[in-house]
């Protein structure tokens, strides 16, 4: 970056500083937009130092990136409101300036390092905040950026703290500060045990810095604690891998389960399966668009609304495909491959023409975003819900097939069409329903996948091969096989990945499938027959 001007500026700042100190919050805020990020950092520090109770608000708005300067009257304002129509109110006086044109104000820029500073500043200001959540946040930011100056501040806060969770956070923050500073050995050893109990990677990081401590006792304690933590984390690592495997498995299951019906049960090599999944994803997108524009309040419900619609859309198209094409091809499964491939091309192009070729944004509703810590492993909500969703879909499907009359008819038709027909089952109708069911489930998969993957016309293509692998590996015609197949492949993949890297892992899994099929030519859960298949 420009070195010379920067130098001059910072010198200027130094000379200027004493006056600045004397400045009121108004002047400081007015000074915010000027100069480089470093200058801004200085001003922010001073704002925090003013102790003015409006300072907190200023910093929070700045952190949120809503602090702007009006070009018209160069006032510093908070921007609020939606998208293209912005409204401004004075950050200090709260006076409302009404709507501002999209390029009528310029943002007070913050970058990552500034954000960190601001967060720390806010932290120190909110250590005694009435809201425990805010105090917790404060304690955590203190933990992330330890500052020996804060030691007694934290100590006081910790002493005064009622909420146990916040108290622990404060204790940990304090421990970091202690380890960073040069206090008594006892204090440090105590701090170490606090870290030892925290037991996560951050804790280990803090401890490893304490390893080369002058005091042998401290060093020893730190070393022991590090060893302990690493041991724990190895175990958790395994758990994490299993979890990743399950999560990947659930995705595979979702992608494959519809195919397990259209292909596994009906024997239609349904190459358009992936596109049916894609349609589900686009339905979700459409629903979210509608919700965003009309009733934003419902956003968290978008998926629940999208799911049945996706089922109907994909299912409906599935029925159309079956009635329009597939039904002419029973007994000619390879022709179904051909026709459905053609259909998949058309569906891709259709979506491309309607929604455009680029990715569409499908947001995560609040209950599906973020993650929670389970012991030492992170579990992301969306993947957890997808796992639940996958199992739920599986259960429902199983119920439909085994316990409902339509399910009975489906099995009857697929086992012996002629006989079923003689027994007065409308085989044509059952075929349509069966295919529709498989397609509909593919649509449901699309709803889930839209949460973790691109929503683009290529969505389907990226899953079709895997889906077939899963169904065949599990044993076509056996829903349970699909379940077992999906999860075993998922977990295998995730245990390989750390050693081999993502690509090789995938290759190895494929090779494994090839070899496995040699051993069991009809898949994992093969239906063994003894009659001569002439």
């Amino acid at each position: 970056m420009r070195l010379l001007p920067r130098l001059i500026l910072s010198i200027a700042l130094l000379l200027w500083a004493p006056f600045v100190l004397a400045q009121s919050l108004e002047e400081l805020v007015a000074a915010l937009p000027e100069g480089s990020y470093d200058d801004r950092a200085a001003v922010i520090a001073q704002i925090a130092a003013t102790g003015d109770d409006r300072a907190l608000k200023v910093l929070e708005v700045l952190l949120a990136g809503d602090l702007e300067q009006l070009d018209s009257n160069s006032r510093i304002v908070e921007i609020y409101g939606q998208g293209r129509d912005d409204f401004a109110r004075d950050i200090l006086t709260g006076e409302d300036y009404g709507e501002v044109p999209s390029r009528g104000s310029s943002k007070v820029r913050v970058n990552n390092s500034l954000r960190r500073d601001i967060r720390t500043a806010i932290g120190t200001m909110t250590l005694r905040h009435p809201d425990p959540a805010r105090r917790l946040a404060a304690a955590q930011s203190a933990f992330r950026s330890p500052d020996p100056e804060q030691a007694e501040l934290l100590a006081e806060a910790a002493a005064a703290e009622a909420d146990p969770e916040v108290a622990r956070a404060l204790a940990e923050a304090l421990a970091v500060v202690t380890l960073a500073g040069d206090g008594a050995a006892e204090a440090k050893i105590a701090a170490i045990s606090v870290m030892r109990d925290r037991g996560d990677t951050e804790a280990r990081t803090v401890l490893s810095s304490a390893l080369d401590n002058g005091d042998p006792q401290v060093a020893a304690a730190a070393e022991e604690a590090v060893r302990h933590i690493e041991q724990m984390q190895r175990l958790w690592g395994m758990a994490q891998n299993v979890w990743f495997g399950l999560s990947l498995g659930s995705v595979l299951l979702l992608a494959a389960i519809g195919l397990a019906i259209t292909f596994g049960v009906m024997g239609v090599i349904n190459m358009a399966h992936g596109e049916l999944v894609m349609l589900g994803a686009y339905t979700t997108f459409a629903v979210q668009e509608a919700i965003r524009s009309s009733f934003p309040a419902l956003f968290d419900w978008s998926l629940l609304i999208a799911a049945p619609l996706a089922f109907l859309v994909a299912g409906g198209i599935g029925v159309a495909i079956e009635r329009g094409v597939v039904r002419f091809l029973y007994g000619r499964p390879l022709e179904t491959l051909l026709a459905t491939w053609g259909i998949s091309l058309m569906l891709q192009q259709l979506v491309r023409s309607i929604f455009g070729p680029n990715n569409r944004e499908v947001g995560n509703p609040s209950f599906m975003s973020g993650a929670f810590e389970l012991g030492q492993m992170t579990v992301t909500w969306n993947r957890l819900w997808i796992l639940v969703f996958a199992l739920a879909v599986f259960a429902v499907l199983l119920f439909v097939l085994k316990k409902t009359p339509i399910g009975l008819q489906m099995r009857a038709v697929t086992q012996n069409r002629a006989m079923a027909a003689n027994m007065g089952i409308r085989t044509g109708w059952v075929d349509a329903m069966t295919f529709g069911l498989g397609a509909g489930i593919a649509g449901l998969a699309g709803v889930a996948l839209s949460q973790i993957d691109n929503v683009s016309p290529n969505l389907g293509q990226s899953y079709i091969v895997d889906s077939f692998m899963v169904v065949v590996f599990g044993g076509a015609g056996n829903i349970w096989g699909t379940l077992a197949g999906a999860f075993s492949l998922g977990i295998a993949n995730k245990f390989l990945e750390p050693w081999t890297g993502a690509v090789l892992a995938k290759i190895l899994v494929l090779v494994f499938i090839i070899l496995f099929i040699q051993k069991r030519p009809r898949g994992l859960f093969a239906v063994r027959g003894r009659a001569v298949d002439a």
């Binding site: 063994r528 003894r530 009659a531 001569v532 002439a534």
Partner: protein, 245 residues
């Protein structure tokens, strides 16, 4: 007369279900033997075991007292001289009747031999003779798929004979035939017997009677009774389980 085929203490189960249960059976060279038994008696599985399609869990299957059939696959047993006819007639539908026979002729079955095979005069003669025997000479040029059910049965028998096997396993040949055809089939099998050993699996009692041969009754994968038809149909257990009264 020497023993053509010997099954001794053969067991085979599928996922827990005992299809063959300590089955022992001896068939003499040139003998004509009928095997009867209710559905699920293990008739087909027994055939599968003899022809090497299915391996027994325990027990031995001896060919000419020497060769162990449990070690060989379908093609292997076929090359030893065991021919098999399926219950549902299976011929090569998209090829001519003549080609069906030609494919079955006793020849070197290796890839190269077949690749460079040229049909010799005697082969042609043999084909003609067989076609005549199974009364299909007038449709020699047809696609096998266009034949009637009965004709397919006959064609298949013809294909069997073309292999000129020592042992023929015939699975319900009379199924779906008119009475006339049935009788002609029985007639044909009796002709064949002697030159070849023949094992017939059958439901149709009239047919079995028409064969007029030794009968083995199978039940739950086990030999229930053996002897002439009258003898076995007098047997209480047989009446119990099979004739179902």
């Amino acid at each position: 007369m020497s023993v053509q085929l010997l099954l001794d203490g053969v067991n085979r189960s599928f996922d827990g279900f005992k299809a063959i249960n300590d089955l022992s059976l001896t068939v003499e060279k040139g003998e004509l033997r009928a095997i009867i038994g209710p559905n699920g008696a293990g008739k087909t599985t027994m055939m599968d075991i003899i022809t090497g399609k299915t391996r027994p869990d325990t027990g031995k299957v001896l060919w000419n007292q020497s060769v162990d059939l449990t070690r060989s696959d379908e093609a292997g047993t076929a090359r030893l001289g065991i021919g098999r006819k399926f219950q549902k007639p299976t011929v090569f539908e998209t090829q001519t009747v003549e080609d069906n026979i030609a494919l079955s002729l006793k020849e070197d079955r290796s890839v190269w031999a077949t690749l460079f095979y040229r049909r010799s005069a005697e082969d042609s003669a043999r084909i003609a003779e067989l076609l005549a025997l199974v009364k299909l000479d007038h449709v020699a040029g047809w696609m096998a798929g266009d034949l009637s059910h009965g004709q397919k049965q006959w064609l298949e028998i013809g294909m069997l004979l073309a292999q000129d096997p020592e042992l023929l396993l015939v699975d319900e040949p009379a199924a779906g035939m008119t009475d006339a055809e049935t009788m002609r089939t029985a007639e044909l099998l009796r002709q064949i017997a002697g030159k070849h050993t023949v094992i017939v699996v059958e439901h149709d009692m009239d047919f079995v009677r028409a064969l007029g041969c030794r009968v083995t009754v199978l039940h739950q994968g086990h030999v229930l009774a053996e002897g002439s038809l009258d003898h076995v149909s007098a047997n209480e257990q047989v009446i119990e389980v099979y004739l179902g009264r």
